[in-house]
């Protein structure tokens, strides 16, 4: 399996970050960084990561299925993660979530037919004091309102 030169460089650095014989430590970062490039954790990726870290594909699958940021399903180009945990809930996170579902016409962990957007209701993302908050891919957006969300989505659509 081949990856971009940047990702290969990242892998190389990762595998050197842990003591000799401990390359298994790189499994989670490798999967997440590769998912960023591939869009999802594919079966082929599982095999490849297993090979490079010296563990079995089953052991990789055990890990993949444990972490909520790792996904076997492809996501939209813009993955919108809306927090509805307690601080966000108190400040309108739930309304924000429902608004996003209506606006995009999709539900939790679904992708718009054009593949541009996907939605996920997530647990606390560490933005509680600036709630309600969401992330688009890895980017934080604080103090969100339905109106701000509309603008954000519309701008992303235009960028497409």
């Amino acid at each position: 399996m081949t990856f971009s030169p940047e990702l290969e460089a990242k892998f190389e650095k990762l595998l050197k970050s842990y003591p000799p014989g401990r390359q298994r430590s790189a499994v989670v970062p490798m999967l997440l960084y590769a998912q960023d490039e591939l869009g999802s954790v594919t079966g082929e990726l599982v095999e490849e990561v297993a090979r490079r870290t010296g563990i079995t594909p089953l052991e990789v699958n055990e890990v993949v299925s444990y972490y909520s940021m790792l996904s076997r399903q492809p996501r939209g180009k813009y993955h919108i993660q809306i927090c509805t945990n307690i601080s966000c809930l108190l400040t309108g996170g739930e309304e924000l979530w429902e608004h996003a579902c209506r606006k995009l016409g999709i539900g939790n962990k679904e992708v718009t037919p054009d593949g541009q957007f996907s939605l996920e209701e997530v647990e606390c993302i560490g933005a509680c004091s600036w709630a309600p908050a969401l992330q688009v891919n890895y980017e934080f957006h604080h103090h969100m309102t339905p109106e701000k969300l509309d603008r954000l989505i519309d701008n992303l659509r235009k960028a497409v």
């Binding site: 079966g43 079995t56 594909p57 089953l58 052991e59 699958n61 055990e62 299925s65 444990y66």
Partner: protein, 679 residues
């Protein structure tokens, strides 16, 4: 380790320091319930059933992880502990389907027992249960997630016990489940260890599921007939049929161990091609005849040939009992007057016995500080011995050395691995001299790569190390070792098996539980009598075929690869067949032989004679009768027997000579043996 004193439920208990509280209590007769704790496997503390009160501890403690300490005061019988157990069971039942009436484990389910003893009488759970459909992971293993309580015993026995690691845990929280190594299916030893260790009915076997109930079966503990390791297997019998084999009571030399053969490959006995009536050759093929007629035909021809001083050949079995082997050779020698008697020799036991060196027991493999495995893929051919060594490595950090041609599973746990070309085994062993000489003790196991002169050289090497060394000569099938020691071998002047097959001038050839035509051509046209379960290549060429009972249908003793003698118990009958011993007796009687001299053909009478006459076999009958194993004492090295080259049958986890061909379960599994560690 020094002992410590503690108090459990007011009782003073003494236990070695570092003993786990759950074990110390158990030995003191106090049961602390547990699902995830399993002696010998990694600790989990996941089920929380073993919570107990420990004085000065602010919370309840898990007895499965707590080492005992001097002065510790433990209570397992307080209302708080009872309430904790009850609540754990209430939690675990919330998503459990409670389908006990149709569950295979019903009646022998640890969850049922636990709820009966410690649980609540009613349910307070009103929510919707999670459902996941049952899955078939292989013809052997089925998984039902809703029944699974996630004790992780299966995962551990597969990884730690078997060295396979074909099972894992995927997802998290309440969606967690056990997963097989190939996504939707299993590629493994198909040993079924996971199924029997499962405390509930989450893992069920393709053999047993939905067939019968535990209390409807008779449970007969006998010895597996497939390989030479001699595992005890408890056959579940109903209506003269084997429904399963298991060893949940951990009796026998093998503890909880069984491979696919011991657990599921008893089905050959019920194969539709099983011979159920004697056959006599006529112009137009085989004709079914009565036993009386068949015996008459055989005895008549034997007597006639004997009278005219004709030439006999007798080929015995490495599956039949010691009593049968002994009786056969005696009948051949005294009754037929021939010394042409042999069997398919699968390992050079003869040379090892002649070296007069100490022989290891199966227990030695678990205790010896070091083990050397020469020229054999142990996990494939002797899975129980491999299991013992793996457990030894896990529990006692034994050092394991392998000298082998290609990768073997034991490489994973080996301190040193020596790769050799065929024939290079002895030279390979020599390279380990310095390491081995530093070991406090050693067990050497060798396969057919070491035979004849090489055995002597190997034992000389062992003696020269200056440390105690014990040996195991690896052989195949349940009684190869016994066949040698009972004298199913030619003495000076007698023909060996290959010689009999090649001789053009035999008048009669009597083949018992063997299939020599598979490997050898038969040169002459002797009167051929075959006793077997199936119409093998050899039986097809016979003049008379006598349907024999399998090892599961008879009593007697067998001697395993380590020289441990154990008792077979008759588990059921296949009408139409007879045991080989009875067939011998009937032929002898019909021939008019001196029955006084031959002796009665009952297993106990023959064993009594064996004990008197075979060196090393004067064994405590009571122990054997109680189902125990006793290693045969030092042999006299069989000074009269003729040496001949040996050849392993080369069976793997999924083959077992002729019997394996008739086991549907063995043939149903898809994986190539050994694939898992060759990849």
């Amino acid at each position: 380790m020094a002992n410590v004193k503690l108090t459990i439920d007011g009782k003073t208990v003494e236990a070695p320091a570092n003993t786990l509280l759950i074990e110390a209590a158990r030995r003191a007769g106090i049961e602390i319930p547990a699902f995830c704790y399993y002696e010998g496997l990694a600790l989990q503390a996941a089920c929380r059933m073993c919570l107990v009160e420990v004085e000065k501890a602010p919370k309840l403690m898990t007895a499965c992880t707590l080492p005992v300490a001097e002065g510790m005061v433990v209570r397992t019988n307080t209302p708080q502990v009872a309430q904790a157990r009850k609540s754990m069971l209430e939690f675990v039942l919330t998503n459990h389907p409670l389908d006990c009436p149709v569950c295979d484990k019903g009646g022998e389910c640890e969850l049922q027992d636990m709820v009966f003893r410690y649980g609540a009488g009613e349910s307070r759970f009103l929510e919707v249960k999670q459902h996941v459909d049952e899955r078939e992971w292989s013809p052997v293993v089925f998984y039902d997630r809703p029944r699974c309580i996630l004790c992780f015993r299966c995962v551990r026995i597969c990884a730690e016990g078997m060295g396979v690691a074909a099972l894992g845990v995927v997802n998290r929280g309440a969606s967690s489940e056990i997963a097989p190594n190939r996504g939707d299916h299993l590629e493994c030893d198909e040993c079924g260890m996971c199924i029997d260790i499962c405390p509930v009915g989450a893992l069920t076997s393709g053999t047993y599921r939905y067939r019968t109930r535990p209390w409807e079966m008779q449970h007969v503990g006998t010895i597996c007939t497939h390989c030479a390791d001699g595992c005890k297997t408890t056959l579940g019998i109903r209506n003269n049929r084997i429904h399963r084999g298991n060893n949940r009571d951990r009796s026998g030399v093998n503890g909880e161990f069984l491979c696919i053969k011991g657990r599921y490959a008893g089905d050959f006995a019920h194969h539709e091609e099983r011979l159920l009536t004697p056959l006599v050759r006529s112009q137009d093929g085989f004709k079914p005849v009565s036993w009386a007629e068949a015996i008459k035909t055989v005895a008549g021809r034997f007597a006639e040939i004997r009278q005219r001083g004709g030439k006999f050949g007798v080929i015995g079995s490495n599956h039949t009992t010691n009593e049968e082997n002994y009786y056969l050779q005696k009948l051949a020698r005294t009754g037929l007057g021939t010394n042409n008697i042999d069997h398919h020799r699968t390992g050079d036991v003869l040379s090892l016995l002649r070296a007069r060196v100490p022989l290891a027991t199966t227990a030695d493999l678990y205790h010896s500080k070091a083990v050397l495995i020469v020229g054999v893929d142990l996990a494939q051919q002797h899975s129980f011995l491999a299991y013992q060594i793996r457990a030894n490595w896990r529990h006692h950090q034994a050092r394991v050395y392998t000298v082998r041609r290609g990768p073997v599973r034991e490489d994973k746990i080996a301190a040193r691995i020596v790769s050799v070309e065929p024939g290079g085994e002895l030279a390979g062993v020599e390279t380990l001299r310095d390491d081995l000489a530093k070991e406090p003790e050693l067990v050497i196991l060798f396969g057919d790569a070491i035979q004849g002169e090489a055995v002597a050289r190997l034992t000389e090497f062992g003696s020269s190390l200056g440390i105690p060394v014990k040996y195991v000569c690896l052989v195949d099938y349940s009684n190869s070792r016994g066949a040698v020691e009972m004298g199913v071998l030619p003495a000076e002047g007698g023909m060996t098996l290959p010689e009999m097959m090649a001789a053009g001038d035999l008048d009669a050839l009597w083949v018992v539980g063997a299939n020599p035509l598979r490997r050898h051509a038969l040169a002459g046209k002797p009167f051929l009598v075959v006793q077997d379960l199936f119409l093998t290549e050899t039986a097809q060429a016979a003049d008379v075929v006598l349907p024999a009972a399998s090892a599961y249908e008879k009593s007697g003793t067998v001697t395993n690869v380590c020289g441990e003698v154990q008792r077979l118990q008759k588990a059921f009958e296949t009408p139409g067949t007879k045991t080989d011993l009875e067939i011998f007796g009937l032929i002898a009687r019909e021939m008019g032989l001196d029955l006084k001299q031959l002796g009665p053909w009952t297993p106990s009478a023959v064993f009594a004679e064996i004990a008197r006459t075979v060196p090393g076999y004067d064994l405590p009958v009571e122990v054997l009768e109680a189902g125990g194993a006793v290693q045969a004492g030092p042999s006299d090295g069989l000074p009269d027997a003729v040496w001949a080259p040996v050849q392993s049958a080369g069976d793997t986890l999924f083959t077992s000579g002729t019997l394996g061909r008739y086991s549907k379960m063995l043939n149903a599994v898809r994986e190539a043996p050994g694939e898992l560690y060759r990849a």
